[in-house]
């Protein structure tokens, strides 16, 4: 009886897997179809007349290498910035005692929930006054405003025995050396997985870059993809799917390599 019940739950879960994954399968398969085939045999998973023409058309219409480089550069800036600022702040919260610590931590962490529209106008004005429109730095700087890193690094630091840090501290080793030579090596798996999460999120970021990047040569992949979609119909779906397929390669590779670490870090973000 219980066995039957268990397997009927599996059917439900497998249906969910299909619903979640079929769009991805269709995306990849349609990117190798001609426009005609994508219309007439849209549910055919293996294309009838497989073709690379969408990819080559795409290569003629946009500067793919430049798009990938812009996206990569911006995501790297954001990721490194968040890791460095997050690690430093987490170290201070964990190992230093100072007045108002509780309040400062509370303010830092609360900012995670502030919707972007609340700060969007002043941030836009600051970035445009600083002459950073159309630049990766202009996209990256306001995005560093994210205390998730502090929260996650603090949780990771819980795993380091505090007696170890105290012992080296008493030996008179300066704290930047403790951070660099002891904390960072121990936290390596956490840093990699948290960095991977930051990188993927920033790679996919759309809203803030659309405000800052107006010049086509500064576009990132999501902005370029947006140009291929319009609500009025007439969208060339196979082309859009080819660009989407190119766009997912990097996040998917990162996920395949660090999957276990990434899921662990996501899990720990919900625990106190």
């Amino acid at each position: 009886m219980n066995k039957v019940k268990g397997s009927s739950w599996h059917i439900l879960l497998i249906i969910i897997c299909l619903v979640l994954l079929l769009p991805v399968v269709f995306m990849v398969s349609n990117s190798f179809k001609t426009l005609q085939d994508s219309y007439h045999s849209m549910l055919q998973i293996i294309p009838l007349h497989p073709t690379f023409s969408n990819y080559s058309t795409l290569g003629k219409q946009v500067d793919l290498l430049r798009l990938i480089w812009n996206t990569f550069f911006m995501a790297t800036l954001v990721t490194l910035g968040k890791i460095v600022t997050g690690l430093l702040a987490a170290y201070a919260f964990k190992y230093f005692t100072f007045k108002g610590k509780k309040w400062l931590y509370f303010i830092f962490v609360s900012t995670i929930f502030v919707p972007f529209t609340v700060v969007m106008i002043p941030n836009y004005l600051v970035i445009s006054k600083a002459n950073l429109l159309n630049s990766a730095l202009g996209v990256a700087l306001p995005q560093l405003c994210d205390a998730t890193g502090i929260m996650l690094f603090l949780k990771a630091m819980d795993k380091i025995p505090s007696s170890l840090i105290e012992a080296v501290h008493i030996d008179g080793i300066p704290s930047y050396k403790i951070l660099k030579d002891i904390v960072v090596p121990i936290l390596r798996p956490s840093i990699i997985s948290i960095g991977a999460i930051f990188f993927i999120n920033s790679w996919n970021e759309y809203v803030w870059p659309t405000l800052i990047l107006k010049d086509k040569s500064s576009f990132t992949l999501p902005l370029a993809l947006q140009n291929y979609i319009s609500s009025e119909g007439g969208t060339n779906f196979p082309l859009a799917m080819a660009l989407s397929t190119i766009m997912i390669i990097v996040p998917l590779l990162i996920y395949l390599i660090f999957q276990r670490y990434i899921l662990n870090s996501i899990s720990s973000s919900g625990l106190k």
Binding site: W9, A92, V114, P115, V118, C145, E205, V207, Q226, Y255
Partner: protein, 297 residues
Amino acid sequence: MNSRSSKKNKFLTFAYLAPTAIILLVFMIIPIIYTLYLSFFDWNLIAPTKDFVGLENYISIFTDPVNQKVLLNTVFYIVLLLVLNFLIPYFISIVVKFFIGKMQSSYKIIFFIPSLFSLVVGAMLFSWIMNPVSGPIAFFMRQLGVSLPNWTNSGAMAIVVLCLMTNWKVFGYNFVLLLTGLGSVPQNIIDATKMDSIPKWRMIWDIVLPLNKSIAFYVLILTIVQGLQYVFTPISVITQGGPYYGSSNVLYHTYLNAFVLYKTGNASALAVITFLIFLVLLYLEIKFVEGRADRYE
């Protein structure tokens, strides 16, 4: 410690916190105050002068029918997001935790995959799948003799489809968070109910759900705050808030006022109202998610 080293410590604390503090000050704290300031002015983002108008921007939010429609839509969005992105993943995480034995981690790995995609890709894929003329769903429904209504013509239907686009992305992420929470319920409590042969659903309802309240509430708040921001991308890519503001919400309307209509004052007032909603949610979070705020007492 002697006074020299404590002075040094003070300096170090400052040096370590400074990068984060400066960024938060420049791109978060000061902007919040400046948005509040702008909400009392009539401005177009470019003109050298701003006209002080007092509370006029706020009055217009609550009297203008378009703004009212947008606020109402926001409520509809929140309800839908709670069902799609919170209740359903919660139910599925309970099923995976307590009703199946094997393959828990395989489901986790697969469910998470859509989270890797940009919402722009999600929006594009679902506008293809749900295309009322040439999409797969329309194709299936035609076989059954019904036609898929053109959802872009109806605000309510558009909102449902836009929420489904974010659901595809967020489902696995929230599932992982909630499953972790369920995993932290002590096993001995669960074993004890097994020995007393208490039915599973009772055990979940009476013991697991109350014990898991804190993380569930965290995900609930996250679903609202993040969900309204996530849904911004499909709105912007697919409907631009249409038809006639039917699928707009308070965040998209803020953006529209600020960067399309250049009504900076209106946009700022809407942003301040969004911020107030956020403060209420934050208060609820502190109240219900015990121990989170006073971690560093």
